[in-house]
Amino acid sequence: MTTEQATILAVTGNEAVAEAMRQVNPDVVAAYPITPQTEIVQIYAQFVADGKVDTEFITAESEHSAMSAAIGSAAAGARTMTATSSQGFALMWELLFVAASYRLPIVMANVNRALSGPINIHCDHSDSMGGRDCGWIQLYGENHQEAYDNHVMAVRIAEHADVRLPVMTMIDGYVISGAIGPMESLTDAQVQEFVGPYRPIHPMLDSKHPVTVGPFDGLHGFYMEHKATQQQAMERASRVIDEIAAEYAELSGRRYGLIDAYRTEDAEVAIVVVGSTAGTTRMIVDKLRAKGVRAGCVRVRAFRPFPAAEYAEAIGHCKVVGVMDRSDSFGAQGGQVFLEVRSALYDCDPRPQVLPFIYGLGGRDIFPANIEQAFTVLRDAAKRKTKTTVERRYLNLREE
């Protein structure tokens, strides 16, 4: 399979990611199968077997080793990719921090799945949200098209001289990864031209200029300065993500922002949501708008770096904002996205009230009616003269 002209295909989300990988044709892919990401690994193995890519394919024995091999490969100087989900993501944990701190531009697809226990293989965002502090750029896709687009753009973002950080692209397990949807692909030549050749910085295999990667850096050293430079790279990444999105839009006609705001300009109430649920949320927004309710929504696209100013700009004028988290931070005031959004809106004057909602854990269905319920809570709060209570509100939780 080669793609010589832009084509609209019916694909699973996993196929969309695998196709982007094929067209990028990275030097090394190191991966381990895990539900629901498995299809990506299988499809890619077939590409390798059929000679459709030039990639060295490492069938690691665990995600810990898949990420370790990716680190070795990227440090050696090769364009490197991997993919995972859930427990695999968790097993990679220590290496995720290593990859980011070594400034290795690895690109990883994470197909979002709940974490054990109890064992559950269905979608929520606990895996990657739990990894939000590991120093990787996080891009959350909504649908099949974005699964593909984000993965192609991720290569440029990760390798950009002002960034040099690993990037993970997320899609919702099953809802996107296993379901079939439309995807318009670029041609192989377009993708190759867009990503360009990879020019590693200080590759380990340049033995004339030996470097030590990740040396000991203790109490009186530069550890803290290293961490500050990681943060500086993250700050630069916001601009780079947007510039690359603009360049990609010229190629594809599809323009992605750091956030995806919908009918928020004059909104009184708005919902912030991540991933595939955004489509259903927009449908409810339209339904409420038809009834005269000034509703809007924002879909989170870049969660790391978190573009706080864009949230303040888009929904800072709302009376009440609801944040729907598909993962929880037990003991905190709400889910991970809630904590970020409320913090982003804190300096707005007047300040919107921000309410936490939890939904969809372990693949629990989210119905249009559940999103309407959330909007009802927001509208009731907007009518009150005093602030409403800020406890978590669960959507579609079984009643006792």
Binding site: N25, D27, V28, A30, D54, E56, I58, T59, A60, E61, S62, H64, S65, A66, S68, A69, A70, I71, G72, S73, A74, A75, A76, G77, A78, T80, E94, L95, V98, P197, Y198, P200, P203, M204, L205, D206, S207, K208, P210, V211, T212, V213, G214, P215, F216, D217, G218, H220, G221, F222
Partner: protein
């Protein structure tokens, strides 16, 4: 397309272990690195060092006593990181070796699954374990490489269990080459490293590496301790080809076990029963001799 790199430099590279390493006096691992350098000749390896003393050896950023490209990685990941590097070498058509230099904790214990998988995939990696029979870097806790009877900071009354036979485990992978290295047998040591460097695929070398701080031994006696360990039969010197064909390089010469044990404080208060230990060593030798007789390595 693989990364294009500059043409190799033909000038001699600096010594692998430059001055100002942080190793303790008498650390056998330092000698091992010196000899590894000698065996390498002009080749410039990439070193992969998991969490262990050797990760601290080169000193702290921005200095490094290692003169060759080195990646310091997490405890359980060395063989997998080396896999990534070795695959890129393959893509680039480069011949220089990728070498894991790892302690026993990262080899026998936390890194064993990673090591096993890299061996099973027969990655083009030379894995050298410097075995000081403890978690030396964290203050001398037991590992599964610690011999029975040895006192460590987590076995204050002496370790109950026997040392794990890592060579048998590695041989079971039918890997191209596995051998034990003795710092008291220099020619044999250099020959084995050179032989391993000349091969492709996964190669495993086990070096007994006395640790004066952990073994409570005289720093001046580290090499002597290795000589005694080989002479009394506790540390057999042998090679395994393709995991199947065996060659014994040195046989015990009747040196009493106690000559080795009594020089180390770790055995002083809770020394193992000499009769039991002698019987165990004899059984191990009977097994090894039988393997070498039935499945001999021929040149």
């Amino acid at each position: 397309m693989a990364t294009t790199l500059p043409a190799p430099d033909t000038a001699p590279r600096p010594h692998l272990l430059r001055p100002d390493s942080t190793n303790c006096p008498g650390c056998a691992m330092s000698v091992g690195l010196q000899w590894l350098d000698e065996a390498l000749g002009a080749a410039t390896p990439t070193l992969v060092v998991p969490a262990c003393c050797a990760a601290v050896t080169p000193g702290a950023f921005p200095a490094s006593a290692y003169s060759v490209p080195t990646v310091a990685t997490t405890f359980a990941s060395a063989a997998a990181v080396a896999t990534g590097i070795a695959r890129v070498r393959e893509l680039n058509g480069e011949a220089d070796p990728t070498i894991c230099w790892a302690g026993d904790g990262g080899t026998y214990d936390i890194g064993l699954a990673t090591l096993s998988a890299a061996a099973e995939r027969n990655e083009d990696v030379l894995y050298i374990c410097y075995d000081n029979e403890i978690y030396g870097n964290t203050g001398g806790q037991r590992s599964s490489a610690t011999p029975r009877g040895a006192k460590t900071s987590t076995t204050p009354r002496g370790k109950v269990e026997a040392k794990k036979d890592i060579m048998a485990i590695m041989a079971a992978h039918r890997l191209p080459y596995a051998a034990t290295l003795s710092l008291a047998h220099r020619d044999d040591f250099l020959r084995k490293i050179r032989l391993a460097l000349g091969m492709t695929g996964f190669r495993f070398l086990l070096m007994l590496s006395p640790c004066p701080a952990g073994w409570k031994s005289d720093p001046a006696e580290s090499v002597e301790l290795v000589r005694l360990a080989v002479a009394c039969g506790l540390f057999p010197l042998y090679e395994v080809f393709d995991g199947e064909r065996y060659r014994v390089n040195a046989r015990p010469d009747g040196t009493p076990l106690d000559d080795y044990l009594r020089r180390q404080g770790r055995f002083r208060t809770v020394a193992p029963s000499m009769d039991e230990l002698r019987a165990q060593v004899d059984r191990e030798w009977a097994r090894l001799d039988e393997l070498a007789r039935v499945f001999p390595a021929t040149d």
